[in-house]
Amino acid sequence: MNIATSLLTGVLISSAAAYLGTLMLGRRMALVAGPLGHLTLPGIALALMYGFDVTLGAFPFVILGIVLIWLFEVRTKLPVEALTAIVFATGVAAAFLFLPIEQAEAALVGDIAMVGTFDLILTAVLSAIIFSIVTKNYRKLLLTSISEDLARVQGINSKKHNLIYLTMVAIVVALGVKLVGGLMTAALVAIPACSARNLSRNLLQDRLLAIGFGVGSCMLGIVLSQISGHPAGVLIILINAAIFVMTAVFKR
């Protein structure tokens, strides 16, 4: 129940999410983070019921979700969007089959005030992994997002880089559930990146602005939540949305 721990954990999660978000817009990838977020719900439910870390609960379910969607896609050739809708609904339904209703709020909107030292250490390690891997591969990931053909002609293994990216998204989604719950993690990835894109004139600005917006909304959200008593996750998303609206107005 230490606000410094909450703030630090939140900042680490939201900056990693925003950073990944800057690579997401290319190939409709934002759609992926959304459904993946929802897939975490059964895992969060289990974690809350048995009292272990929600990130550790969420992660295997995200991976399961990715594999399921991929398998269904190969088998049925239906659009990924349709398949994720199916898997998403199943995830929500399965979660509420088991989860006592009084614990539903933490699962749905997150509870960053609950985090302790273990959460902070786990978050720090995972976000350090995300930042170093993404920074090291940024060019290749970006080119793969722009054009797989061009990437492959340059000798970049696009399948490998898609997998790296998806794994990073899975980790950040599993982390994000601490902050904003199982329904809104996609927003943590997508909104700061969208706001940044409205204003940025080059890639460097884009990354800095996205991380700035992500971190700013997170800190403000947590502080306001202490004052007002509303869940921090809800406030963080609303602040992010407000920033997006403002950047849309100021977009040149």
Binding site: G26, R139, S145, I146, L150, V153, R197, N202, L203
Partner: protein, 227 residues
């Protein structure tokens, strides 16, 4: 010297035959235009030659010292990123000097272009930047997929003048997908007519009206340009 040899090439995508039994070859320094109506499989052919698609048959590139540059038809997703021209070039390992070199060889020496966003370039500038990007690393083969829509490269130079200059300066071998029959006569040393099957392969002189009307379904008149 032979640079590419294709034998009995067939490509099938999702159960549909796109290319059937293509055989042709390209020698060093040649300009091969690949001609055909929409949906003939021209882009698929280029992508197959680049090793991006599964195929049956044989594709043999020369082994020694092969550097391929590829100019894709378009990059629809690039507008999703606030990428400047300079940052685009950085996606390839390229020195400042080489970047300026290729840009000025394409008459884009004005340094202000480097800080422009890729998404805000005119279609002509965009095409030039794609060509410049492909030329980084001094390729000796250029695969060029011409955009379907007519693009305005500016009054001073057409894309074919540009390619012509490249051919002279850099002794580059070019495989060019085009819709523009005039290009074949102005610029190509060889021509491949494609409509899923290969309808012709030879020098432009060998291509006659009957073949082209077969290729395009009998509605083509040829106006040969002589300059």
């Amino acid at each position: 010297m032979r640079i590419l040899e294709v034998e009995d090439l067939s490509v099938e995508l999702e159960g549909e035959k796109i290319l059937e039994n293509l055989s042709f070859h390209v020698d060093e320094g040649e300009v091969l235009t690949i001609l055909g109506p929409n949906g003939a499989g021209k882009t698929v052919l280029l992508r197959t030659l680049l090793g991006l698609l599964p195929y049956r048959g044989k594709i043999r590139w020369k082994k020694k010292d092969l550097r391929i540059g590829y100019v894709p038809q378009r990059l629809p997703f690039i507008k999703d990123f606030p990428l400047t021209v300079k940052e685009f070039f950085r996606l390839k390992e390229v020195s400042e000097r080489e970047m300026h070199g290729v840009l000025s060889s394409l008459l884009m020496a004005d340094p202000s272009i480097l800080d422009k966003k890729m998404g805000t370039l005119s279609s002509g500038q965009f095409q030039r930047v794609l060509v410049a990007y492909a030329l980084v690393g001094s390729p000796n083969v250029l695969l060029f997929d011409e955009p379907t829509a007519g693009i305005d490269l500016g009054a001073e130079e057409t894309v074919y003048d540009l390619l012509n200059r490249l051919k002279m300066k850099r002794k580059i071998t070019i495989l060019l997908v085009t819709h523009d029959i005039a290009v074949v006569y102005q610029f190509a040393t060889h021509c491949l007519c494609l409509n899923k099957r290969m309808l012709c392969f030879g020098t432009p002189r060998e291509i006659n009206g009957t073949l082209l009307s077969e290729l395009y379904g009998g509605k083509v008149k040829i106006y040969e340009h002589r300059h």
